[in-house]
Symmetry: C2
Subunit: 383 residues, 2 copies
Amino acid sequence: MPDLGIVGGGQLGRMLLYAAWRWGLDCRVLGRSSTDPCAEICPGFRTLDWNDTEKLIHWGRDISCFILEIEHVDVAVLEAWERANKRVFPSSQTLRLIQDKHKQKEFLSGKGCSVADFEYLSSVEMLAPRHASGFLKSCREGYDGRGVFQLGSAFPFREDLPSFPCLWEKGVEIKQEISVLASQDMEGHVRFYPPVEMVFDPDSHMMDYAICPAPLSEEEKERAFSLAAQVLEAFDSAGLFAIEMFHTVEGEWYVNEVAPRVHNSGHHTIEGHPTSQFEQMIRLAMGYPLGETHHLFFSATLNWVGAAGSSGSSGPFEYSGLQEVLSTPQAYPHIYGKKELRPFRKMGHVTVLAKEPSELHEKLSFLRPRIRDGVRLIGSSLG
Amino acid sequence: MPDLGIVGGGQLGRMLLYAAWRWGLDCRVLGRSSTDPCAEICPGFRTLDWNDTEKLIHWGRDISCFILEIEHVDVAVLEAWERANKRVFPSSQTLRLIQDKHKQKEFLSGKGCSVADFEYLSSVEMLAPRHASGFLKSCREGYDGRGVFQLGSAFPFREDLPSFPCLWEKGVEIKQEISVLASQDMEGHVRFYPPVEMVFDPDSHMMDYAICPAPLSEEEKERAFSLAAQVLEAFDSAGLFAIEMFHTVEGEWYVNEVAPRVHNSGHHTIEGHPTSQFEQMIRLAMGYPLGETHHLFFSATLNWVGAAGSSGSSGPFEYSGLQEVLSTPQAYPHIYGKKELRPFRKMGHVTVLAKEPSELHEKLSFLRPRIRDGVRLIGSSLG
């Protein structure tokens, strides 16, 4: 009988597998495509029609514990597993609250968590001049900046808008985007990882790099943790949560979004912390005590994304700066094994460690421009 | 076209896979049994009749690089791959020198490496009273203390002797058993890991625990490194070498055995060093620069072996002390996923890290007696 079912076959699932296998766990993975990052490494990988709820439920019949690495799963599947007394992370209740961006915000706001002003817009006709300074997000879609749209031009807005219904959020002057990874086990014990600052590219809206611990004063850190604790209390459910926050120029703190799963803002925990986010997820899913979360090193994470204009399938691909990464002390490349290249698709990441922030920034300055060229087919020159 | 072929499907292969997959490498594994540790985690795993040289050669036809995780492979297979311009670690030449314990010792001695007195004994009739204080090792077999026999009783020796021909080695009064892991890339760059002390159980001859860095004076460390450098020079070949040495009570240093591969005395490098031995092996096989080898932490390794009297197949198994390991800061369990339990079979290990030796010894004193009960079938009570 398999120990663990991983729902979603992407890089997060792949890194969950590494952690689970180290402990001898027998794993099954449910993916969407035979080219998923988990496909080539897991004999227990399979694909199914994700719209066929009955088939998904049936897939899990012999598995006692599930970890989702994505959020686009029919909640009815999770409910069926829970009725059969299986452990599911996140719970169906949490997933339901998370899946709709407007419901999520309303829920958090109702629980007293600080969020920026927001509105529910059922259709494009509801847009008004007052929405100009803000963001539109499709309620049901959106990932990696897709489905998120920054308004700001003159009304009526001319740009391609995301599909409605939408959540509108008031724009705030952001000083820092912070992510706090929080873990809560089945007995209610809680452990936070140190806050991470995610620095975004203003043009692509993609993450440029992340840094841990985030440069915050003790007081600011306390604000971040207390907001994270409020969010955990609101969900009142065992699991791992990545809580993304805005720290504004005015010193306000708002919850931006919550992902109830391992998250790309936590990759540095693999090398930089006693317990990686993946191991932590496995610990709490298997009923083991939570591991330590403090930082052993200062760390930064850089993403390898598909180069602008790049595309191709099966590779081989060239990861810009890989040689330099491999020559840099305590720089750890992670390549996800994706077989299809698209512009801005996440293909891998690099974690860089240092004993001191100054050393970290030196390494970061050296590697960042080299990794930024991204991933392309070997032999192609896209300038 | 696969990037890497791993020859041998045991726990060493499994840990090589983790390192290779993190870098997106496409791997094939050749094992002996469908219950090998690599079998359940690698879609590219297969078994073959290892006596069928032609089939083994054919298995590797599409693979450009091979890493052996065992030594019992027909050298003709490696030679065929080398003739086809494939990279093979260790080289056929190295493997040939290593496979026969007497040839290995003769080779090392001929190259000026310090070894204890030894003799070649073609048959049991060659045993004489002068051999009483010494060890007998089958030339062609022997692994994990099997095939190694300590003499010492009155001549004629009555005990079950290993199969001949044998290497006889004079017993020396051992103060410490030291292992130095050395890596040499294809351009001749060399990096040593800090020496490890392996402490053996006097009754079972199994490793009790290993500790890194070994407690050695600067001068002793230099002796260990210079002996390791001599061994590397002797083999004159790219690869990873675990060089096991005796440090005697009289202050002499002797090479005991050389394993031209990743080794159980290097497991602590996964968590305790910037570059694990597995990553280092992959680096040099793929032509990447060698990674840093110094220790980031003080570390100890404990093995989980099958409990005395235990046996069983498919499990589930109970790993004694697992709960305590998971509650100890920076203690990392590794479970190999073996499906068959036998007394003293290596089933897993635990690496413990600490910032100071005193803290390490505290953790070790706590965990050692708990892990020593070993592995048994759940529900069995073997007292």
